[in-house]
């Protein structure tokens, strides 16, 4: 019986710049179904945080309810965590971020937690441009309650019982672009070479960053006719561009003549190097991005990669003009003005 992962790791693993090993970013042994895409995304998050040299105690992972929302137990075991109410992770994330802007916020949610019960919260989170990375582990079904179609299930996609979904799906990437998100990407749990650089870029984006990750439900939605199965996604995968995340120290200026290369420079100097695969697509233009999504959807393809980026957008703290120092670090001295200050305020109102 092995519900415990052995403690031995590969002796050849090198520590990152902080001296941490990949195992320092691991969590508990997953209790999800064997082969669940969510576990791959978790492994991608571990790899991204290890490679970005993030101190585990500087990151907070937040989630709602669902298979996806269980996953924070399975990665970053040394980080902060809050498993909130179903669909209410955005509120908790907003509160946490307002209280302590110094942490890195990673929200993990599912298609039910985001596009159904949590839709009301999600849209306002995007609208407010809270500085966080929001990963949707999107499997198109309610796996925890035996696989009913979710709001992101494509129209016509067949469930395990053979019934086609009759409702229009919600495209979270398109919705987020409409609502003004500054970083919108889509990826696939089975493609870590694309997913990991996207997670790294999202964690470096100074505002709301959405990654909608198609993550097959191996138990309830991996059947022929489903548009979220491993086979279907692999066969219909279209990428906007190849993605390469370049940390600040490694950035070198290179000019590409063919215009196929786009370098997005993040606020900390790191770069997202994109090599275009879609001729008409432009990551800086909302119209082009939305059009590319529509065209792919119409063609029955799954468009992945970075879809839209606006790296200079103002986040919630800038909009609210909050102080640089995290609110939870303000002491009585700053929060309770002295009597003279009160007098001055009162005097100004007389």
């Amino acid at each position: 019986m092995s519900f415990i992962k052995p403690n031995f790791r590969h002796p050849g693993h090198k520590p990152n710049a902080l001296g941490f090993l990949p195992s320092d970013y691991e969590g508990l042994l997953s209790t999800l179904c064997a082969g669940c895409g969510h576990d791959s995304i978790g492994a991608g998050i571990i790899q991204a945080c290890f490679e970005l040299n993030i101190e585990p105690h500087r990151l907070a992972k937040l989630s709602g309810i669902g298979c996806s929302s269980k996953t924070p137990a399975y990665f970053l075991g040394n980080s902060h965590g809050f498993n909130s109410v179903h669909g209410r992770m955005p509120s908790v994330a907003t509160g946490a971020n307002l209280a302590n802007r110094d942490l890195i916020y990673l929200g993990v949610s599912g298609d039910g937690d985001t596009a159904s019960i949590g839709m009301g919260q999600f849209v306002h989170l995007v609208r407010r441009n809270l500085n966080m990375t929001y990963i949707v582990m999107n499997n198109g079904c309610y796996g925890l309650t035996k696989g009913q179609d979710s709001a992101t299930a494509d129209k016509g996609s067949k469930s395990k019982s053979g019934n086609a979904n009759v409702f229009q799906n919600i495209d979270l990437a398109g919705l987020a672009i409409e609502l003004g998100a500054g970083f919108v990407a889509r990826s696939f749990s089975g493609d870590k070479t694309q997913l990991v650089p996207l997670i790294k870029a999202a964690l470096n984006h100074p505002g709301f960053a959405l990654i909608d990750v198609i993550s097959p439900c191996v138990t309830f939605n991996n059947n022929p006719g489903s548009t979220k199965s491993y086979d279907y996604v692999r066969q219909h995968l279209e990428a906007t561009a190849t993605v390469d995340f370049v940390p600040p120290a490694d950035v070198i200026e290179v000019n590409y003549e063919d215009g196929a290369e786009v370098d997005v420079t993040m606020h900390n100097g790191s770069q997202l190097r994109l090599r275009k695969l879609q001729p008409g697509w432009n990551p800086y233009q909302k119209d082009a991005a939305v059009r590319a999504l529509h065209e792919a959807s119409t063609a029955g393809e799954v468009l992945t990669g970075l879809i839209y980026v606006n790296e200079v957008q103002e986040d919630l703290h800038v909009m609210l003009n909050t102080c640089e120092r995290p609110l939870n670090q303000l002491t009585e001295r700053e929060l309770l003005p002295p009597l003279q200050a009160l007098d001055a305020i009162n005097a100004s109102l007389r």
Partner: protein
């Protein structure tokens, strides 16, 4: 696309390559050609998974180590003993004295500090076994009319006897001593190997109806050949201890300067009972360690080991050196003997020159440091500087060719000499090695003798017996104990020094008790339970890659091995360990598993949604003489 099943024993020009003879004795389709065509590792090849079982692969007799360690953990000591006995004939003896080539190979040593205490676990099986005789072949065996002579009653001859007696051969065993065991009796001191253990295990063989001719020194092979034997096996060991004949003073105090192995034999056979208070043992092998520790027990108070080579390069096993140091015997390394000092016919001591090792182009040179020579006082000196073969009793006109070192010219697979009726094995074959090598060679020589006596070609070797048994019992349940414990190696308890140094017959090591044996056995990683990958079941969900604790598994674009090794989940620098490649998968990638530090924990198979990974126990057994596994 999955690799075709290739039946072992295929002998014709095949579709995928030509039939090849392998040096290790089996016949198989050319592996490399197949691999090239299929881009997948040929796991049907009997040696592929055998190699993953590092301990078994390293063992000259290929004893199925994890198999018996599991039996010990289960408290099935008798079965564990029989698995050993089948393969290495002397579990109780080897469990105390083996050179343990398995332990440096143990995978555990690559993931933490120390390998599993394989050797001492073997002893646990011997110490706690029940009635083993009822599992052994019992005579009288119907005679097959063939008569074999075995010269020397050491481990290799006894192995030949055990393998051939049940087949009906009349076995005649010759030895100059009055008891069987050879060097195991004459050279290994009783405090390491009690006589009862030796007697018992030698007895199991002799009781198979062996005709013993003890106290009978064979002084002519010619006369033996004329005595009507169908085959003769020479297992006379390496009986001649090396001397320092030219060292000044060597012959002035003959009575106090002894050859190590001869002196040990004299102690073992109760001819020698005492030694002087001050003793120098010259040499750095296991014989030197046995000499110095025996000296301590026969009255030696100041016993020193003086050796030419640096401490770390001494031939003695590390644990033997530790035991000597523990008994208060200092080891002086980098000292080269210069002269014996003899005054008025009395030995006073020895001079040694201090040297240091320098390495030029991989070759070691011992260069004098220029310091003054060092004098060591001594009442007795024991020379344990190596031993060599000696065949004064073999006439050189019998058709047995000898090489420049006066060693017989042998076929390395069959151990047959240039005189087809005469076979060699053990130290007598290729020079001094160790007991387990002698046993392994005995098995091979027995096969050759059997084939020869049946009028078949001894070069037609036997394929090993292999089995793959799926271990799945449930979703999280395997037929083996898959959990990997963190425990570090347990130490074997020893008897109090005050007691052991008084009596050379008191065994120093007490052996593991059953509970410690269980804990030590749990350290075994079960490397014989193989991760078997079925290509067409894989959906490339990455679950195995994500769960593997030691990052063994990768799915990457194809390439040649050198290239693949640079692109895996973790460094794959250990070139002695194979990459298990399967592909191409639907995404055109290949699955690559680096076998190096796989914990055999089964998590890849547990997390695999389609059972593309399975855990299968691989049982590899060297085929013994008389088995019906002949290829022809």
């Amino acid at each position: 696309m999955s690799p075709p099943t290739i039946t072992s024993g295929l002998r014709t020009q095949g579709k995928f390559g030509k039939v090849a003879h392998y040096s290790s004795g089996y016949i198989f389709v050319d592996f490399y050609q197949i691999a090239e065509i299929l881009r997948s590792t040929d796991i049907q090849h009997p040696e592929y998974f055998h190699k993953v079982i590092d301990c078994q692969y390293a063992c000259p007799a290929h004893t199925p180590v994890p198999e018996y360690i599991r039996l010990i953990a289960a408290g099935r000591y008798t079965e564990a003993y029989m698995v050993n006995w089948e393969s290495n004939v002397f579990p109780g003896i080897l469990g105390r004295t083996c050179d343990r080539p398995c332990e440096p190979a143990c995978r555990r040593g690559r993931i933490e500090e120390e390998p599993v205490a394989i050797c001492r676990l073997k002893r646990v099986a011997a110490d706690n076994k029940g009635d083993v005789r009822r599992h052994m072949p019992r005579g009288p065996f119907p005679p097959n009319g063939k008569k074999i002579a075995l010269v020397g009653a050491g481990p290799s001859s006894l192995t030949v006897a055990r393998d051939l007696a049940p087949l009906g051969y009349a076995i005649h065993l010759y030895d100059e001593q009055g008891l069987g065991g050879g060097m195991m009796r004459s050279q290994i001191p009783s405090f390491r190997l009690p006589a009862e253990v030796l007697d018992e295990e030698v007895g199991y063989v002799l009781d198979m109806g062996i005709h013993t001719h003890f106290r009978q020194y064979v002084n002519s092979l010619k006369s033996l050949m004329e005595a009507g034997y169908d085959a003769i096996f020479v297992g006379t060991g390496a009986p001649r201890g090396k001397d320092l004949p030219d060292l000044p003073g060597r012959w002035d105090a003959k009575a106090k300067i002894h050859i190590g192995i001869e002196w040990l034999a004299n102690v073992a056979f109760e001819h020698t009972h005492a030694i002087g208070k001050k003793v120098i043992v010259v040499g750095g092998g296991n014989t030197a360690m046995d000499c110095c520790r025996t000296s301590r027990r026969l009255g030696g108070e100041t016993v020193s080991v003086v050796v030419r080579s640096p401490f770390d390069e001494m031939k003695a096993s590390p644990w033997e050196k530790e035991d000597a140091l523990h008994e208060g015997i200092p080891i002086y390394d980098c000292h080269v003997p210069k002269s014996f000092v003899v005054e008025n016919g009395l030995l006073k001591g020895m001079y040694f020159e201090k040297v240091e090792a320098s390495y030029v182009g991989g070759r070691r040179k011992l260069l004098p440091t220029g310091e003054p020579d060092v004098f060591f006082e001594a009442d007795d000196v024991l020379l344990a500087i190596g031993q060599e073969n000696s065949f004064p009793w073999i006439e050189r006109d019998l058709g047995i060719e000898f090489n420049q070192w006066q060693l017989p010219v042998l076929n390395e697979t069959t151990f047959q000499s240039t005189q087809p009726r005469v076979f060699f094995g053990g130290d007598a074959a290729f020079g001094p090695k160790n007991v387990i090598t002698a046993v392994a060679q005995g098995h091979q020589a027995a096969i050759s003798i059997d084939l020869f006596c049946q009028g078949k070609d001894p070069n037609d070797r036997l394929v090993p017996t292999t089995q793959r048994i799926p271990q799945k019992m449930g979703i999280h349940e395997w037929a083996y104990d898959s959990y990997v414990v963190d425990d570090l190696r347990y130490e074997v308890p020893q008897e109090d020094k005050a007691i052991t140094l008084k009596d050379r017959k008191v065994e120093v090591e007490l052996g593991f008790d059953r509970e410690t044996a269980f804990r030590e056995a749990q350290r075994c990683l079960n490397c014989d339970v193989q991760t078997v990958f079925t290509l067409n079941k894989c959906i490339e969900c990455d679950a195995c890659v994500d769960i593997c604790p030691t990052s063994c598994i990768s799915f990457v674009p194809d390439g040649d091995e050198a290239d693949l090794r640079t692109r895996l989940s973790a460094p794959a620098d250990n070139l002695t360990q194979d990459l298990y490649v399967a592909g191409p998968l639907p995404t055109t990638r290949v699955m690559v598993k680096d076998e190096d530090v796989c914990l055999h924990c089964g998590l890849c198979a547990e997390r695999c949604p389609t059972a593309a990974w399975d855990m299968q126990k691989y049982l590899y057994q060297v085929t013994k003489a008389g088995s019906c596994k002949h290829i022809l």
